[in-house]
């Protein structure tokens, strides 16, 4: 990534942060649970969850490629995508929990399907990393974790997007904050502008961190080979 991209990410994300707090709250005071200002976290919470699901899909794509080519480079890419996916899922969970405290009254409630589903998501990815560290042979490890990544990415998308909508009785979490049931964008022009800029900036930031992590992993692998 060259210099210009970094400058764009820096200025863009700074502009998103400033405008998220200085424009009117995305929620009208009449409709809000708790103070309307709290709803500004929406500009960050939703892109974080989006980036997490993007990372899991990316991992699935590289796992499929790995199974086709058996190139270990794709195994590293899939692993890195899963690590970052879990990181962003944790960040989204923390912001979601703060949001829940301010609007629903509790940081965590086991009857809220969103919170249970993200918990299950983190548990199954914990299983992924446990499995990886339990297998010594690199080829077996790469094969198994590629297959598991593909299955888990489908499970992740199901847990994030489908399950809370099926059991919406057990969820206070809104499912129409971006598009409503007829597929129309529900936000006003200013909110829409800031939200989509934030989405783009978080995605760009994710790819920067992703690129860096892969390069670090490559350097580490080279160093390990030299020492052998």
């Amino acid at each position: 990534m060259n210099m210009w991209w970094k400058i764009i990410i820096f200025l863009g994300m700074s502009a998103v942060i400033v405008s998220a707090f200085l424009t009117a709250s995305p929620m009208r005071a009449a409709n809000s649970l708790g103070p309307a200002d709290v709803y500004r976290i929406f500009y960050f919470h939703v892109p974080q969850a989006w980036v997490a699901s993007l990372a899991f899909v990316l991992s699935m794509i590289y796992s499929i490629r790995f199974l086709k080519t058996r190139n270990m480079e794709y195994d590293t890419k899939a692993l890195t995508a899963n690590k970052l996916g879990v990181m962003f899922a944790i960040v989204a969970m923390v912001t979601g929990s703060i949001f829940a405290k301010m609007t629903w009254g509790e940081f965590w409630n086991w009857s809220e399907i969103r919170e249970v589903s993200v918990f299950i998501l983190l548990l199954i990815y914990g299983g992924y990393f446990a499995l990886r560290s339990a297998i010594a042979d690199p080829d077996t490890r790469a094969n198994l974790s590629a297959v598991i990544s593909i299955i888990f990415a489908v499970a992740a998308l199901f847990l994030i997007f489908v399950l809370p909508r099926i059991y919406s009785v057990f969820s206070q979490h809104p499912s129409d904050s971006i598009i409503d049931k007829s597929g129309q964008i529900t936000m006003g022009p200013t909110v829409r502008m800031i939200f989509f800029s934030s989405l783009i900036m978080f995605t760009a930031l994710f790819f920067w961190i992703y690129n860096l992590s892969i390069r670090v992993a490559r350097l580490t692998a080279n160093k390990l080979l030299e020492n052998k």
Binding site: K6, M13, S14, F21, L22, D37, W208, V216, L219
Partner: protein, 38 residues
């Protein structure tokens, strides 16, 4: 409205810190890559 400015400045400080960390990490990685190639 006042507390909005507090949250805004905390968020900005965290972002600037994170950005410069990534920026310096990127430069270090680039140097190591060049060293590895030569």
């Amino acid at each position: 409205m006042d507390s909005n400015y507090v949250v805004l400045s905390v968020t900005l400080i965290i972002w600037v810190g994170l950005f410069f960390y990534l920026f310096s990490l990127d430069r270090k990685v680039k140097k190591l890559e060049e060293k590895n190639e030569s």
